[in-house]
């Protein structure tokens, strides 16, 4: 999951980025509005966290521009202005949720996870499909209520596929969204990881959670369980 954080306060941005990385996200950072808009338009982004008071270009302008250009990824607003006028203004411009400063990082990460789930079409707070369940905030995958031990990269793959359960995800998309910028981008590595993931989730090859569609990519194929 690739996140973009646009925030002009260095301490806040870097700490937030570090916390989000720890929570399993690949994070891009931008310190001003123009740079932020550029990243948001040019990079493969799954979610943007945008401060409203930015130099060069305000957060509201960025959001309007992104929506105008047809970018539909979720946007979380960070704002010091917590008058309803400002919040409603941001939501009306096209943002999906807001967090008012000073926030706690857990709060931001919870909101991000909720938006990620929502963007994948998950209405409930738990993501359950067949015997597989995934908890975004704990980064935990269970099969038949047994927690599965996964490396962080394996988790990122299953998370990305499961959030978009039912959609076909190409190897290129996975490489783009999951690697941090400086990693070597080799799509063969993905195949290796998916192979290992299958073995861990489904050692006796009975539930087949990840389908391979030749030449197109992968799909998490189990039926979602929609519960509240």
């Amino acid at each position: 999951m690739r996140l973009l954080v646009i925030e002009d306060d260095n301490t806040l941005r870097e700490t937030l980025a570090a916390q989000l990385s720890e929570a399993g996200f690949a994070v891009e950072q931008a310190a001003d509005g123009k740079e932020g808009l550029y990243f948001a338009l040019e990079y493969p982004i799954d979610l943007a966290i945008i401060d409203l008071g930015l130099p060069q270009m305000s957060g509201l302008e960025i959001i309007r521009e992104l929506r105008k250009q047809g970018k539909s990824f979720p946007i979380l607003i960070l704002t010091a202005r917590d008058r309803w006028e400002d919040k409603v203004g941001g939501l009306d411009a096209g943002a999906d949720d807001y967090v008012v400063k000073p926030f706690q990082f857990e709060e931001v990460i919870a909101r991000v996870n909720a938006l990620v789930r929502r963007s994948g079409g998950w209405a409930s707070s738990e993501m359950i499909a067949g015997p597989v369940s995934l908890d975004l905030s704990r980064q935990e995958v269970k099969v038949n209520d047994v927690a599965i031990e996964l490396t962080s990269f394996e988790y990122k793959i299953i998370e990305y596929l499961m959030v978009r359960a039912g959609q076909v995800i190409s190897k290129t998309e996975l490489t783009e969204r999951l690697y941090d910028q400086d990693f070597e981008r080799d799509s063969n590595v993905i195949e290796v990881f998916v192979g290992r993931l299958r073995k861990k989730l489904d050692p006796d090859n009975s539930i087949k959670p990840i389908e391979t569609l030749r030449g197109r990519g992968y799909r998490f194929g189990l039926e979602r369980k929609q519960s509240t």
Binding site: W84, E85, L91, D96, P102
Partner: protein
């Protein structure tokens, strides 16, 4: 051109120039015409007397008496000249006054003809001439043609004209000057109250005066009254800001001190939690104090009508995004007659806090209703109901007290209601908490 008096002076000058110009041209031409007519009459008389004095003499020429009835014919260079020419322009007689001068022959009239002409002497002196061609009957019974011509120098007439013009211009210039002068003095007097306003406003800025005086002419009294209203509002507002800022600064000191104290024992368990508690408290203080001055739209002299339906629609759309996971059904009914005059930010603050709280506490349903308080005067009654756990009566009282003693308030939630109450009060309205028929809380804000 920014000065009113300069504008008026320039316009009046242009008008004066135009009217006086036209008057001068008309007067001048009337004077000249009258003068010319008089000259012609005189010349006509002279010519007639010349004709009367002439006698047919011998050798076929007319003869003139040595002494003319008009003495100016006899004085050399008098400015009045006469001559008589025979056939083919042969000079028959010249007056003594024309001695040494060559009066141009000009155009000779034919038999019986007569006309005036303007001609010039050799030295350039302009002349008005009057010629008549006559056939004189001599004693031998023969008719001989003669041209009688009188000429008068126009020098004196021109001098008169010039003098007339000089006087005309002089008088008009004087009148124009006096008019402009009196207008600028008048303007000065008329504009004095405006200068007074300016000076008094400057005094208000300096602090040496509290309000504008009430000694203004009727036309300016409205301006002065509004100015005073603005000044007093501004003063009230800045007082409020000062108090708020003061409260804010002082109430932040305590949690700051607490955090510093906590830092001393940061290795002890629970440090993080306790530090966060203090930060929450500071946040709450800032939120509460910052909203108070914002809720001043009620006192603003310029109050606009809030578009209640549009603002609520935006708010509900936003909140449905935020509470996406819970997806409460928000039922919105707005009476189009309901109105609120003030700041739309204040209205959103009222509605935002109430509807957001309802969305947080509800199980599945939220109902937002806006009705009129009074059929005649309009007003607005905003009711937000939910199907959540509701608020017990004693807790409601406590919730409304929140924020009144900020230093003692416990961090957490409920500050939204205190803010709503403050805003409602600033608009002369009130807030009530009741049980909703949906099962949860029903909070009503009434703004008259």
């Amino acid at each position: 051109m920014s000065s009113l008096s300069a504008r008026l002076l320039v316009s009046v000058s242009v008008l004066l120039l135009f009217f006086f110009g036209v008057t001068i041209v008309v007067l001048d031409s009337a004077f000249r015409h009258a003068g010319e007519q008089a000259r012609q009459d005189i010349l006509d008389g002279q010519l007639m007397s010349l004709l009367a004095a002439a006698e047919p003499g011998e050798q076929g020429v007319v003869e003139m008496p040595p002494d003319m009835p008009e003495p100016r014919f006899s004085n050399i260079g008098s400015g009045l000249y006469a001559e008589i020419r025979g056939a083919q322009g042969v000079m028959v007689w010249r007056s003594r006054s024309a001695l040494g001068l060559e009066i141009p022959a000009g155009v000779t009239p034919q038999g019986g003809d007569q006309f005036f002409a303007e001609e010039f002497l050799a030295d350039g002196t302009p002349l008005l001439t009057y010629s008549i061609a006559v056939n004189w009957e001599f004693p031998d019974g023969e008719l001989r043609p003669f041209v009688f011509k009188v000429a008068e120098s126009l020098d004196s007439f021109n001098a008169q004209l010039a003098n007339f013009r000089r006087q005309l211009f002089g008088w008009f210039a004087a009148v124009a000057l006096i008019m402009l002068l009196s207008i600028s003095i008048l303007m000065g007097r008329l504009l004095r109250p405006l200068r007074q306003v300016e000076a008094e406003i400057k005094d208000i800025e300096d602090g040496s005066r509290a309000t504008l005086s009430d000694s203004y002419p009727t036309e300016l009294q409205g301006v002065a009254r509004n100015m005073n209203l603005l000044v007093s509002n501004e003063r009230a507002r800045s007082d409020r800001y000062r108090v708020t800022l003061d409260n804010l600064a002082h109430s932040l000191k305590t949690p700051l001190a607490a955090i510093r104290a906590l830092l001393a024992e940061r290795s002890k368990p629970g440090f993080e939690e306790r530090a966060n508690e203090q930060i929450d408290r500071m946040d709450e203080i800032v939120r509460y104090q910052l909203r108070k001055p914002a809720a001043s739209g009620a006192e603003s002299p310029v109050r606009t009508r809030v578009n209640i339906a549009a603002e609520l629609k935006k708010l509900v759309a936003g909140l449905q995004k935020v509470h996406h996971a819970k997806a409460p059904a928000i039922e919105l009914t707005v009476d189009p007659q309901a109105s609120m005059r003030g700041d739309s930010g204040d209205f959103l603050e009222l509605a935002g806090n109430l509807v957001d709280n309802a969305c947080k506490w509800c199980v599945a349903r939220v109902r937002v209703t806006v009705a009129v308080t009074d059929k005649a005067s309009g007003g607005m009654r905003l009711t937000v109901a939910d199907d959540g756990p509701g608020i017990p009566a004693d807790a409601a009282e406590a919730l409304l007290q929140r924020g009144t003693r900020l230093d003692e308030s416990t961090p957490g939630h409920g500050i939204g209601l205190a803010i709503v109450k403050d805003i409602a009060h600033s608009y002369g309205g009130e807030l009530t908490i009741a049980q909703s028929d949906l099962g949860g809380a029903e909070i009503t804000v009434t703004i008259p």
